[in-house]
């Protein structure tokens, strides 16, 4: 069995850190840029996220999830924490206008993993309102209250659609209750 980069980091292999940043640096940067109102804030967030990743590397279990999903999970938690602490505002609330991020044409495509593709496919199976609310929440970073206002919908209805949508996603992805396993553990 091939040892994952995170497992090598957990074992103290410093050389794996540079490899990790090459593979996933762009992913974490993209998630932070999406959630933070400006580049400076995103840079702070990225450093916090990676600190969390180094500290949590030993918890990674390839039988439970893919590396990209695990990293995105840690990143989301840290970004949500920052938002809660009031150190950050959602990108959608920002008034700061920045030029579009440069994209290197010769950069290697990032492997986001099969789980991401499956989750994207499963999203298409949801009811339109569930799909719309989850996209507004996860992709655009809107709070449920903001979504309710935007869609002229009762807050409770938004919450119900979001929760139902997640449960349906779980079902579509074949994750039985109590034994969640996106990574294929049987």
């Amino acid at each position: 069995m091939t040892t994952s980069i995170l497992q090598r980091i957990a074992a103290g292999d410093n050389a794996a850190v540079a490899e990790f940043l090459t593979h996933y640096g762009g992913v974490v940067w993209a998630l932070a840029r999406r959630a933070c109102p400006n580049r400076a804030d995103a840079e702070d967030a990225v450093q916090e996220i990676f600190l969390q990743v180094w500290r949590g590397a030993a918890q990674y279990d390839p039988a439970v999830s893919s590396e990209p999903t695990f990293i995105a999970m840690l990143a989301r938690r840290k970004l949500i924490d920052r938002f809660r602490r009031g150190k950050n505002k959602l990108a959608a609330q920002s008034l700061e206008v920045e030029p579009p991020a440069p994209v290197l044409s010769d950069s290697d495509p990032v492997e986001l993993g099969e789980e991401a593709a499956r989750a994207r496919e499963a999203l298409e199976q949801l009811r339109p309102e569930e799909k719309q609310i989850l996209i507004l929440s996860i992709e655009q970073g809107l709070t449920h209250s903001q979504i309710a206002e935007k869609l002229q919908m009762a807050l409770g209805t938004v919450k119900s659609h979001a929760r139902r949508g997640l449960v349906r996603l779980r079902d579509h992805l074949g994750v039985p209750q109590g034994t969640y396993q996106m990574g294929g553990r049987s």
Partner: protein, 291 residues
């Protein structure tokens, strides 16, 4: 909030088709960043119950979905940020071939009580034995490759052999962390190497805050001094020697400053907490002292 079975049904959808209990509602809300402080307390309590073995399912689903919604190609991590992250990682991961902070007690230190890390969920308890085992393995691994030259010896060697080494005493400010602090900083410009020595600097909780060194250098705008590394003071007694980890080449430092920052350090410090300073005397100051 007291946990009562009827609360499970409180926020369930009318059809009740998929939500089986309150835990599902709270876990879904957490995954979407919608958990209130009150709900978080309730979730913590529920996660301690035996049925809470599915606590990360929605977190993973939302993470995978967010990845699936990213538009490629992605902008790579900016180079300067990559270097910062890399440097922080080298300090954090207990590298096998590089010394970290070493504390030398001047006497046997009194037992100190460290704050336990905040426990956010029952998840930690489930993985505690695994984490403890991993920590033991990491420590054993680290010890087996312990460097032959300790920071004490390396500092002394620098002082003995580098002709251009400057040795500056720390000046404590009114910051409470520096109440009983003293020590010095040794720096050799030709070797781009240096060591900080501290005695009595207050122990920090790395989960809450860390010390960070800033080096003012003529090559940099004074508003943006060079990051000299993030570090911890592990013991409230004894002496700590910490290697300087300058992120850029220095041409001739003029001031060393210690700030207290959030865990992991910052890119630009607001300098609100600045417990220690060590100023390099100017040529004129040196001459006047010699007279």
């Amino acid at each position: 909030m007291n946990y009562q079975p009827e609360n499970f049904q409180r926020d369930l959808p009318e059809d009740g088709s998929d939500f089986s209990d309150r835990l599902t509602v709270l876990l879904a809300d957490r995954a979407l960043g919608e958990l209130t402080a009150e709900d978080a307390g309730e979730l913590d309590a529920l996660l301690k119950l035996p049925q809470s073995d599915d606590c990360e399912a929605f977190d993973r689903i939302t993470a995978a979905l967010e990845l699936g919604l990213l538009v490629e190609p992605l902008e790579p991590l900016p180079d300067h940020l990559r270097q910062k992250v890399l440097a922080a990682a080298m300090r954090e991961i207990a590298p096998a071939n590089q010394p970290r902070v070493e504390a030398i007690p001047s006497q046997i230190p009194a037992a100190t009580s460290r704050k336990s890390p905040p426990r956010s969920s029952g998840w930690f308890m489930r993985f505690a034995p695994t984490l403890a085992a991993a920590a033991i393995l990491l420590i054993a691994f680290s010890l087996s490759f312990r460097p032959k030259v300790s920071p004490i010896a390396a500092r002394q060697s620098l002082l003995d052999s580098a002709k251009d080494v400057v040795l500056l005493s720390w000046t404590a400010t009114e910051d409470p962390a520096a109440h009983s602090a003293s020590g010095d900083v040794a720096w050799s410009n030709s070797r781009q190497t240096g060591y900080m020595r501290f005695s009595g600097l207050r122990q920090n909780d790395p989960l809450l805050e860390q010390y960070q060194l800033w080096i003012f250098d003529p090559s940099q705008d004074a508003r943006y001094p060079v990051d000299g590394g993030v570090f911890n003071i592990d013991r409230s007694t004894g002496e700590a020697i910490i290697p300087i980890s300058a992120s850029l080449h220095l041409t001739g430092p003029t001031l060393f400053a210690i700030t207290i920052e959030k865990p992991g350090g910052v890119v630009v410090s607001d300098r609100k907490r600045l417990p220690l300073l060590a100023k390099v005397p100017s040529v004129s100051e040196t001459k006047s002292k010699g007279q």
